[in-house]
């Protein structure tokens, strides 16, 4: 299967700070990806570099098999909608859509108009007078209606209320079903989008710490709860990514599948097992990565 985006050993330095550290992954066609991680993990930097709006310090990026820099043929097949997109002074949404229509070859005007109605966007109001949610709607509409083969959404619904977010997910899935493409959603609301994502890439401090199918991550970790000694006995030798204690009880998050015998042992020992949501897994994984880094730092 041809990759649409290939990132290899991508490193980005800002002075002494390493924003991206040997990041490598591929994006396949017709897949919805989640690009997750804490603030400052490097998600926006990564998307900027892939779309040639920023430059790598070292490493390689290829889009549709070519370098994207100043490559009009490749660039117009991508769309990157930022969370803080700047629009020309005194322009209105209708202007932005008009330009987008000219720039994106797959632009669908009917979809754009439908989304304008769905989001109740006042297209004739100057963009600088729009609310935060309305401003995000402009970007969301452009990103969806452009139908670019590779579309990046960076926190596309800042300022959206829950109803608007639902509209966004529904329209996204609907259009994706009919016009499959590669979509990358970068967001903090992980649990809300977990079911939409086919694959998840998690960045932490500029490194890729997870790159898996969402389904595989679903039973990647569990929380074992119960008496301290019994929990300790069960979790000995397992990869622990989080611990919490309350008096005589502990709750320990461990990685790994539970076999039939495991489950039997848990019941026998009165230990409680609960699943870990994708959001919790990502949070724990980033905490664990921070812990490892701290340990390594301390060891030096």
């Amino acid at each position: 299967m041809t990759k649409v985006v290939e990132v290899k050993d991508l490193t980005k330095r800002f002075g002494n700070t390493v924003a991206l550290d040997e990041v490598s992954f591929n994006l396949e066609p017709n897949t919805i990806y989640g690009l997750l991680g804490r603030n400052g993990a490097g998600k926006t930097t990564l998307m900027s570099i892939i779309t040639a709006q920023a430059f790598a310090s070292s490493g390689k990026v290829q889009v549709f098999g070519e370098e994207p820099y100043e490559n009009a043929g490749v660039l117009r097949r991508m769309c990157f909608m930022r969370d803080n997109q700047v629009y020309p002074d005194s322009s209105k949404p209708v202007h932005a859509f008009r330009i987008a229509r000219l720039c994106f070859p797959n632009w669908n005007q009917a979809l754009a108009e439908r989304l304008v109605a769905d989001f109740r966007l006042p297209v004739a109001t100057p963009i600088k007078k729009l609310s935060r949610g309305q401003l995000s709607a402009v970007g969301a509409i452009i990103g969806l209606a452009a139908r670019a083969e590779v579309t990046f959404f960076d926190e596309p619904y800042l300022g959206f209320d829950a109803a608007a977010r639902e509209i966004f997910y529904d329209r996204l899935l609907e259009d994706y079903a009919e016009h499959p493409r590669t979509i990358v959603l970068s967001s903090h609301l992980i649990d809300e989008i977990a079911n939409i994502l086919e694959r998840v890439i998690v960045l932490d401090n500029g490194r890729v710490i997870l790159n898996d199918a969402t389904d595989d991550l679903r039973d990647r970790a569990v929380v074992i709860r119960g008496d301290n000694t019994k929990v300790a006995a069960f979790t000995a030798g397992r990869a622990v990514i989080h611990r919490q204690a309350l008096g005589a009880l502990s709750a320990v998050t461990v990685l790994g599948h539970l076999t039939h015998q495991d489950r039997a042992a848990l019941t026998a020992n009165d230990l409680d097992v609960s699943p870990v949501t994708l959001q919790q897994l990502v949070v724990r994984a980033t905490q664990a990565a921070a812990g490892t880094a701290a340990d390594q730092g301390a060891a030096r």
Binding site: D170, L173, A177, N195, D216, D219, V276, T277
Partner: protein
């Protein structure tokens, strides 16, 4: 709604099986399409496709080219049989374990079960 410990596509397959078992989805009737499932549950179409693929492999659904997925005849019976076999593991094991914890004997349990059954048929 969604159980976080089980793969999503498995849950989707199970829900379709549920609707076959309780009669909502009849044999030889058309099953919901991938896109319909994706839109309804707000999930990725690939996941829906995987769930349906699982049921096709299992023989619960079959594909009519150009039209869609249909429920195979005999699917309901096959599912009932499968579920009855798993019934003991899925439901009885935790029931017996809990009863044991509370100090209920097998006879106590039987009496409770009979009571529940009569309540159900009465109401």
């Amino acid at each position: 709604m969604v159980d976080d410990s089980k793969a999503l596509f498995l849950q989707i397959a199970e829900r379709i099986e549920d609707s076959i078992v309780d009669g909502h989805l009849a044999e030889e009737a058309q099953a919901p399409s991938t896109n319909e499932l994706a839109a309804f549950y707000r999930i990725n179409p690939a996941t829906a496709l995987k769930g349906i693929g699982l049921l096709v492999d299992k023989g619960v659904l079959y594909k009519q080219r150009g039209i869609g997925m249909f429920v195979a005849s005999g699917a309901r019976q096959a599912l009932l049989k499968e579920r009855r076999a798993a019934f003991s593991d899925t439901y009885l094991e935790p029931l017996v374990a809990e009863a044991h914890k509370l100090g209920l004997s097998a006879d106590d349990l039987a009496a409770l079960i009979n009571q529940r059954f009569s309540e159900r048929t009465a109401g």
